[in-house]
């Protein structure tokens, strides 16, 4: 801190500042991303441009008007209490909600400028480019090798499958642990290894976005740390959107954080709403909305 205000004042006066005091410019403590990039990149960095997204299940509105932009090679965390719609929003990014009959999505989600809900868009192609890792590791009842090869085979992959499997496992930081037992059942792996296998499986089809729905909630702290390190590593090639209930995890790994809350109407209808979306360090040091502050400091309600 200031060791000598008298001297500082003299120096400031020498700089011909009107009042002889150092010119103070108020800025926030935040606004710098995990990797040191500025919080306001150019528009070209936007991979998903979400405008006025609303999600309904029948007549029930699950998510209110949501507008946000997801940037390339970043980790975006979606946080909020149960029922706030964060998982519903996550599932919109690869049209997983299409699998629920009563689900209806309004508004637009542009992926590199193209509306993923456009009439001619094939949801399967969307899901190939936008992979998903679920809360509970869900390997297929197959060998480690076949778990990775399954997706590319279905997609008609004609290249060297062995290479692809190895490359995917290397990227998922699992290769060294499984290279000698590729033919063994995936179920023989630990929970953390199974989750990394699921990540390897997701990246085997060459997506450029990974959606992660509470990927560490069933893992111990060491396995969680490995997944978190892997996520940061993966941002070199992919963009990641993660739903997490673990706010420390959101703070540790993400570049930006979106906080959702749930509005309960008189009819009892509960609708999720985006409250604040900003650089993660802003959200966790100086959030702009009181609801965000109350939630992250544990004082919601």
């Amino acid at each position: 801190m200031n060791d000598d205000r008298g001297n500082e004042r003299a120096e400031a006066a020498a700089r011909a500042d009107g009042e002889g005091r150092p010119a103070a410019r108020a800025i926030s403590v935040g606004g710098v991303l995990r990797n040191g990039r500025p919080a306001e990149p150019s528009a070209q960095d936007i991979i998903f441009d979400v405008q006025g997204l609303r999600v309904f299940y029948g007549s029930f509105q699950a998510v209110a008007d949501t507008t946000l932009a997801i940037r390339e090679h970043e980790i975006t965390a979606l946080i909020g209490p149960s029922g706030c719609g964060k998982t519903t929003v996550l599932r919109c990014f690869n049209r997983m909600n299409d699998l629920i009959e009563s689900a209806r999505v309004e508004g637009t989600i542009r992926y590199h400028g193209a509306d993923i809900y456009g009439e001619k868009v094939d949801p399967v192609e969307v899901r190939r480019r936008v992979g998903m890792v679920f809360q509970k590791p869900n390997p297929f009842p197959k060998s480690i090798y076949d778990n990775i090869a399954f997706g590319p085979r279905i997609a008609g992959f004609k290249g060297n499958m062995g290479e692809l499997v190895e490359q995917s496992l290397v990227r998922a930081a699992l290769w060294d642990e499984v290279k000698d037992k590729l033919k063994q059942s995936a179920y023989a792996l630990s929970g953390g290894q199974q989750q990394r296998l699921c990540i390897a499986r997701a990246i085997a089809t060459s997506p450029d976005v990974l959606l992660m729905d509470e990927p560490c909630s069933s893992l111990d702290p060491i396995a969680t740390l490995r997944i978190e390190e892997l996520m940061i590593e993966l941002t070199r090639d992919y963009s990641i959107i993660i739903v997490t209930h673990n706010m420390q995890q959101a703070a540790r790994v993400s570049d930006r954080t979106a906080f959702f809350t749930v509005d309960v109407k008189e009819t009892g209808m509960r609708t999720g709403r985006l409250v604040e979306f900003d650089a993660t360090d802003v959200i966790f040091t100086r959030p702009n909305q009181k609801q965000t502050e109350d939630y992250i400091t544990g004082r919601f309600g």
């Binding site: 801190m1 200031n2 000598d4 205000r5 008298g6 004042r9 005091r21 150092p22 010119a23 103070a24 410019r25 108020a26 800025i27 926030s28 403590v29 209490p81 706010m247 420390q248 703070a251 966790f284 040091t285 100086r286 959030p287 965000t292 502050e293 992250i296 400091t297 544990g298 004082r299 309600g301």
Partner: protein
């Protein structure tokens, strides 16, 4: 959601109670130093060697209270993983506690000077300027502690303005000392110049306290802007 909240709120309530306790402990630390500073002013102006010794003796409770406060803050950071305004508050308290503790040490340094000199026996003009300097510096320090008690976001800027008065008085004190030094022993002149310096620093610590409180409340630290511009 109500059912979910009940145990959750109890835990938060305990956390809030601890934050309140930390705030009270930091104000109490400030009050200890302020009280000792008042004792020092009297010792200085009335050449009271006995009071100067009391000032020195009273520093132990200050140090104990400082260490205790620091431990409480570390513990709550480790156990509660605070964020946002809670984190800013706790970080600011650590800083504020340091400013207060340093001010306490400066008060003791002055008292040691009184002991070494067996009291300063000053002429009336010198005595007058020193009295005004002590009053201004200690008033500013008291306002710093007030800003902590009130969590006043504006205090930093205001105290910075008010610090000008102290700096002017320090200048006046040094000018007078330069003319009167000829008639006094060298070591006395040196001790007096230290007193002037310590009073100036105590006032500076008060301004810093105000700025830390502003950061705790608003998340904005004016000095960060200057650093970023360099």
């Amino acid at each position: 959601m109500t059912d979910d909240r009940t145990p959750h709120s109890e835990i938060r309530h305990r956390f809030d109670t601890e934050l309140d306790g930390i705030k009270h402990a930091s104000v109490a630390l400030g009050s200890l130093v302020l009280e000792n500073a008042g004792r020092l002013a009297e010792a200085l102006l009335e050449s009271r060697v006995d009071l100067a010794q009391q000032v020195i003796d009273a520093d132990d409770p200050v140090d104990r209270a400082y260490i205790d406060l620091e431990r409480r803050v570390f513990r709550v950071i480790a156990l509660q993983q605070p964020v946002a305004s809670d984190l800013r508050f706790l970080i600011s308290i650590i800083r504020v506690a340091h400013e207060i503790e340093r001010s306490g040490d400066l008060v003791v340094n002055c008292a040691k000077g009184i002991l070494r000199q067996q009291g300063f026996h000053l002429g009336s003009q010198m005595q007058g300027v020193l009295a005004r300097l002590c009053r201004a510096a200690l008033e500013l320090f008291a306002r710093g502690i007030d800003s902590l008690a009130d969590m006043d976001p504006e205090a930093g800027q205001r105290l910075d303005h008010e610090d000008d008065v102290v700096d002017t008085l320090v200048g006046e004190f040094y000018t007078l000392l330069a003319t009167e030094a000829e008639g006094m022993p060298v070591d006395t002149a040196i001790e007096l110049s230290r007193v002037g310096r310590y009073m100036e620093r105590i006032a500076d610590h008060a301004v810093n306290i105000g700025e830390h409180i502003g950061f705790a409340v608003t998340g904005i630290f004016p000095r960060h802007g200057n650093i970023d511009e360099q």
